[in-house]
């Protein structure tokens, strides 16, 4: 590939991303779907800008997944793993085993050989970590019971790929004695057990190098104090792992995950994380584009019903298994549906595993091509399914729960306060009001939390507070105020708009995440805005001043003065911002904003507070008289 075409390709990819992702976001489809659509459009099936060598793109883009898994690995705290152990092993393990068995059984029934069936079962049981996590994050569902369960299952799947890759050579060994040595993998000339040994050896190399080589290396790099060397080292590490894994014919993603886990406890963890993060984002986008581009529409148009049937059949089967497991693990119906919808797709590891199976002659080339299409379509469907869940299924549950609630106890209770969102923020406010005899109607989107609160005898509505009917049911027409304490700024703004439009009499007390968010709320005309960490930060400041020997009363007053000053400056900035709304360069703006805030801090000398207690001017006056007398 000459330089010209490489640059051209880069341009096509980037342009496609820039054009389609914002459109998709605007239409409420989410970034992942945007990338996929971009891929389909620039791919060989439509415009044909890219992708005559589909595998090449995929191969390159797989690197995004590699980096994502590296980051997932590095972010994995042992404590988190321990806390989730039941759901990782139980839920994850059962999902992989049951789905594999079900799929393999059906494959066997329709006449596939045993080893092919097993391989298919394992490949198709996996779900897409990239798409699911990205989508859950985007929608803000990561913290829900379903989100946590999905995360556990994905984690188990990521780990389960290791034994799968180790088992495949054995399966292949049974199926077809190796005839062609067409790849450069180290393992090709080895017997089945030897290949397994090589795989384990490579894993061992990563663990040992991660443990004993990386730390001294990072220390040396840190001493040079050249910032970009860190980035280079981090990249080198991931690339080296990928190369090693390719050498033994394994998934680089898996190796990277392992490398990440090994480094999770290192003191350079955050450094590595922040260095890799932007590459991950870009490459992951590229990966999604590649998935879109790799959908072979010619194949699909040849056998549309077969492929569609396969996709729907497999996803339904996986969905049923997931629903069953969710039931066993006591997820609520709506959470269980989200869980099943999220994980019913087939994951990106399937591409890796499929390329391996075709090399190892576990499957015919046609079958591999068809399966690749199936996998790609199912991945492309995932964001759509999630959208379906968000728009159709979730509202249904919201309504039904509300209606049963309403019959139960709406008549005898009219609360003056409605709290939207009862997480760590709203719960504090709610508890405080309750302790002071003010009863609030609480709306929350996490059904497990809702159940728990019900058990404590607190009136809770499950559902999205930006829905008109829910607010009505919650008694918004008679309430005095609405406290909006939801996690997500966008959701918060939706609720604000809804309340302003239909319940203008409600006092709105709104939680804001940061300054940017505060400005948005100011633009909406919200009067009572509470930036979520301001009070805590200032309390830390007060304690710090006190520990440094300043008077407690002075420190408290200084904090309150600072707070008022900050609020005032923020209002000023907000007005300024309105004037130049066109100019949105958020990072740069944020820095300028910070500069303005800090320079306004300096205007005040904090010790000038409380002139009345000091009377320095009076002292000067009296001393002046005294000199005059003399």
């Amino acid at each position: 590939m000459d330089q010209h075409s490489l640059l051209f390709q880069a341009m096509v990819y980037l342009a496609a991303a820039i054009v389609f992702v914002p459109i998709a976001k605007k239409m409420g489809l989410g970034a992942v779907l945007g990338y996929l659509i971009a891929g389909i459009i620039i791919g060989p099936s439509l415009l044909g800008f890219i992708g005559r060598e589909g595998e090449d793109i995929m191969h390159f883009a797989e690197f995004g997944v590699v980096m994502m898994l590296f980051l997932i690995g590095i972010e994995l705290e042992p404590a988190l793993l321990w806390r989730l152990r039941a759901s990782i092993l139980g839920l994850g393990g059962l999902q992989v085993i049951l789905s594999s068995a079900a799929i393999a059984g059906i494959a066997l029934l329709i006449g596939q050989p045993l080893n092919t069936s097993l391989a298919l079962g394992m490949i198709l049981s996996l779900s897409s970590t990239a798409i699911v996590l990205q989508t859950l994050n985007e929608k803000g569902w990561m913290g829900t019971a379903a989100g946590q369960s999905a995360f556990s299952v994905l984690l188990f799947q990521d780990i389960a790929v290791i034994p799968m890759l180790a088992i495949f050579p054995l399966l292949a060994g049974n199926a077809a004695p190796d005839t062609a040595a067409h790849t450069h993998s180290l393992r090709d000339n080895l017997p089945g057990w030897g290949q397994t040994l090589v795989v384990l050896g490579a894993v061992a190399v990563i663990i040992i190098a991660g443990r004993y080589l990386v730390r001294p290396l990072m220390r040396i790099i840190a001493r040079t104090r050249v910032r970009e060397l860190f980035t280079a080292t981090a990249l080198l590490m991931v690339v080296a792992i990928a190369v090693l894994m390719n050498l033994v014919g394994l998934s680089s993603a898996l190796g990277a995950f392992l490398g990440g886990v090994v480094l999770a406890n290192s003191e350079y963890r955050h450094e590595l994380e922040s260095d890799i993060e932007p590459f991950k984002g870009l490459l992951l986008g590229l990966f999604f584009i590649a998935v879109g581009a790799s959908i072979d529409f010619r194949l699909i148009f040849e056998q549309p019903w077969l492929i569609l049937g396969l996709v729907l059949g497999i996803m339904t089967l996986k969905g049923i298994v997931l629903l069953l497991l969710g039931k066993i693990f006591k997820l609520n119906t709506d959470q269980n549906l989200l869980f099943a919808f999220a994980l019913a797709d087939i994951g990106e590891f399937a591409f890796v595993l499929l390329s391996f199976t075709s090399q190892a002659h576990l499957m015919s080339t046609e079958m591999t091509a068809m399966m690749t299409a199936v996998v790609a379509i199912s991945m492309a469907l995932t964001p759509l399914i999630m959208l379906l869940y968000e728009k159709v299924i979730q509202p249904y549950f919201t309504r039904s729960e509300v209606s049963t609630e309403r019959e139960a106890d709406q008549i005898n209770e009219k609360n003056p306060v409605i709290i939207a969102g009862f997480g760590r923020f709203g719960s504090m406010t709610g508890r405080f009001l309750r302790a002071n005899g003010i009863h609030a109607t609480i709306l929350d989107l996490d059904s497990d939390r809702v159940d728990a609160l019900h058990n404590l005898g607190i009136k809770v509505y499950y559902g999205d507070a930006s829905r008109y009917d829910l607010l009505v049911a919650a008694g918004a027409a008679d309430a005095k105020m609405l406290i909006i304490a939801t996690d997500h700024p966008e959701q918060t703004r939706d609720i604000v708009k809804m309340a302003q439009r239909y319940f203008p009499h409600l006092q709105l007390l709104v939680r804001a995440e940061n300054n940017e968010d505060t400005f948005e709320l100011m633009d909406l005309g919200v009067l009572h805005i509470y930036r979520e960490t301001v009070d805590t930060s200032l309390r830390v400041g007060v304690d710090a001043l006190r520990m440094l020997g300043q008077r407690a009363y002075h420190s408290e007053r200084a904090a309150r003065t600072f707070f008022r000053q900050d609020e005032r400056t923020l209002k000023g900035l907000s007005a300024l911002r309105d004037d130049k709304k066109q100019y949105i360069n958020s990072m740069k703006e944020r820095i300028e904003e910070m500069e303005k805030l800090i320079s306004s801090d300096r205007v005040k000398t904090w010790l000038d507070e409380g002139q009345g207690w000091d009377a320095e001017t009076l002292r000067d006056e009296i001393r002046g008289e005294k000199e005059g007398e003399e």
């Binding site: 300043q550 008077r551 407690a552 420190s555 408290e556 009076l618 002292r619």
Partner: protein, 201 residues
């Protein structure tokens, strides 16, 4: 041996010249309890139980503060309002403070002659302190003569040091063994106990 409690209230001690010096002396006298109210309750949220317990544990209670606007900083009022509860400090069953001694240690900007009927302020400090006097009486306490630092606006560091040393001597004398407290309410200023014989009992 009399147990002395000093309830100290200054909202801006970091800028104070006089009281900072006084505290330096007070802290060096063993057996005197210094209760720094603004430091203890920066949000004016007074722990009544703690304060009452402190009062019960002492015989002589001083309110030490600047003489802001012929009175005391806001904290002192808050303290009086909340701590001296009915039924505890006064009323039929309020005998917790009975027989204790109560007084003020104050710093005033104006000179002594300005606190005269014909002076700049038109009244004596004692007249201005009437609410404290009557508060003590209502709580069955003896109001002792105030310790007053006059003209602190004009004082320089060495003057202040002298004043502080004098307060130190007064406090030493008060907590001394066998010192007779009964003449205290009859004095004009607390400093005058330095002229009394050291052991009167």
């Amino acid at each position: 041996m009399a147990r002395v409690l000093i309830n100290f209230a200054h909202p801006a001690l970091e800028k104070s010249r006089v009281h900072a010096q006084l505290l330096r002396i007070i802290k060096n006298i063993p057996g005197i309890t210094l209760n720094d109210l603004y430091e203890q309750y920066p949000d004016l949220d007074i722990d009544v139980t703690r304060e009452q317990k402190l009062l019960e544990q002492h015989d002589i209670i001083f309110m030490q503060h600047p003489f802001y606007w012929y009175s005391a900083p806001a904290m002192v009022k808050q303290w009086l309002d909340l701590v001296l509860e009915h039924g505890w400090a006064y009323g039929h069953t309020g005998k917790a403070l009975q027989g204790k001694y109560f007084g003020n240690i104050i710093s005033a900007g104006g000179a002594e002659h300005s606190y005269q009927p014909d002076g700049h302020h038109g009244h004596t400090v004692h007249e201005f302190l009437l609410p404290f006097v009557q508060t003590a009486r209502l709580c069955n306490m003896h109001y002792v003569a105030p310790f007053v630092l006059y003209g602190v606006h004009r004082e320089d560091t060495s003057d202040i040091k002298e004043d502080a040393a004098e307060l130190g001597q007064v406090l030493e004398r008060l907590r001394g063994e066998k010192f007779d407290l009964t003449p205290l309410p009859g004095l004009n200023y607390l400093n005058q106990i330095l002229q009394l014989p050291a052991q009167t009992r």
